[in-house]
Amino acid sequence: MRWPRPAPPQAKPLRDASPMSLERFEALADAFGADLSRWPETDRAAAQGLAEASPSARARLAQADALDAVLGLSRVAAPSAELRQRLLAGAPKPNAIRAAAAGPRSARAKLLRWLSGLGAVGVLTSGAVVGATVVSVSAASHGEADSMAGLYDQANTLDAGGA
């Protein structure tokens, strides 16, 4: 999470068992509207009890309900199909596809590591003892070089195909 978060709001202690005053009921109706399921969880049971018992509480709920209905008249457009397509195009790709996409880069990296290894071998062998050692290393590496060159070609082919 990157967005800074302030200290989380603290929940009030449970008040289910306590009767609710009409004043508190009205304040909650003014804030949260007529649907008791949208009221703070800790107040719902007591509010339900008062709503059943008090005509004044029910009148306040009716007032809140009228405003809820007016607010419900606000309409907004549904997201377009084009937006959904744009989102899908930018979404994460399946792991298998990502692995295939990463393959050519891995092969290229291996080839570069191998070539740098050859350079190191060259430095180590550039001395008095050259002849047979170099021939031996070159011969041993030749098969791998062919193999890596093949992967490199494959990488280029995949790159070209993906372009």
Binding site: F32, V76, L83
Partner: protein
């Protein structure tokens, strides 16, 4: 009572893990679950459907980037997403204030649909205008709680206020709306 704004049980977390793995069904499910809500929030914040879609697209780009490194237990994904969308809307509203010569957003949204009558459209515009005239924090509280149907705890977490402060913002905002929208319906 759940932890405030935190993800003791985040209903989106499992889906988000599948999104991070590139599961196309999960990606489509997440879009279906969240996109209409985020577009609606941005449309009501900005009063402009095109800008709302731009905000939604940017918010989802951040989701795609964030999904692989999402840390569970810190915040609910839905709360985080609302905060991202809200911040993107704030940026655009700020730019409008800094560039007052820019064309105002369309007041009538042609994308709402042909089945909506002129009368419904006019009523909707009036409600939208009343919302946009509220002080910003009152407007945001009402959008998050009434329209986005966030709980009081989650809405307070998005706004970075206490639940008592949220209740006060909602009450003042609704009182102002009642006065401005008298006679409707």
């Amino acid at each position: 009572m759940t932890a405030q704004g935190k993800a003791e049980h985040d209903p989106d977390e499992a889906l988000l893990r599948r999104v991070a793995a590139g599961d196309q069904a999960a990606i489509q499910a997440l879009i279906a679950r969240k996109l209409p809500r985020i577009c609606a929030l941005a449309a009501r914040m900005l009063g402009d459907a095109m800008e709302a879609e731009d905000v939604a697209q940017e918010a989802f780009l951040r989701v795609w980037r964030q999904a692989p490194t999402w840390r569970s237990g810190e915040a609910k994904f839905d709360t985080w997403l609302h905060r991202v969308a809200l911040n993107l809307c704030y940026d655009r509203l700020r730019r409008r204030r800094e560039q007052p010569a820019a064309a105002p957003p369309d007041q009538v949204d042609p994308a709402i649909g042909a089945d909506v009558t002129i009368e419904i459209m006019q009523t909707s515009i009036r409600v939208q205008a009343a919302l946009s005239e509220l002080p910003a924090r009152q407007r945001d509280a009402i959008l998050l709680h009434h329209y986005q149907e966030l709980s009081n705890i989650d809405a307070a977490a998005v706004l970075g206020v206490s639940v008592d402060a949220l209740e006060s913002l909602l009450a003042r905002g609704r009182r102002a709306l009642r006065a401005r929208l008298q006679g409707l319906r």
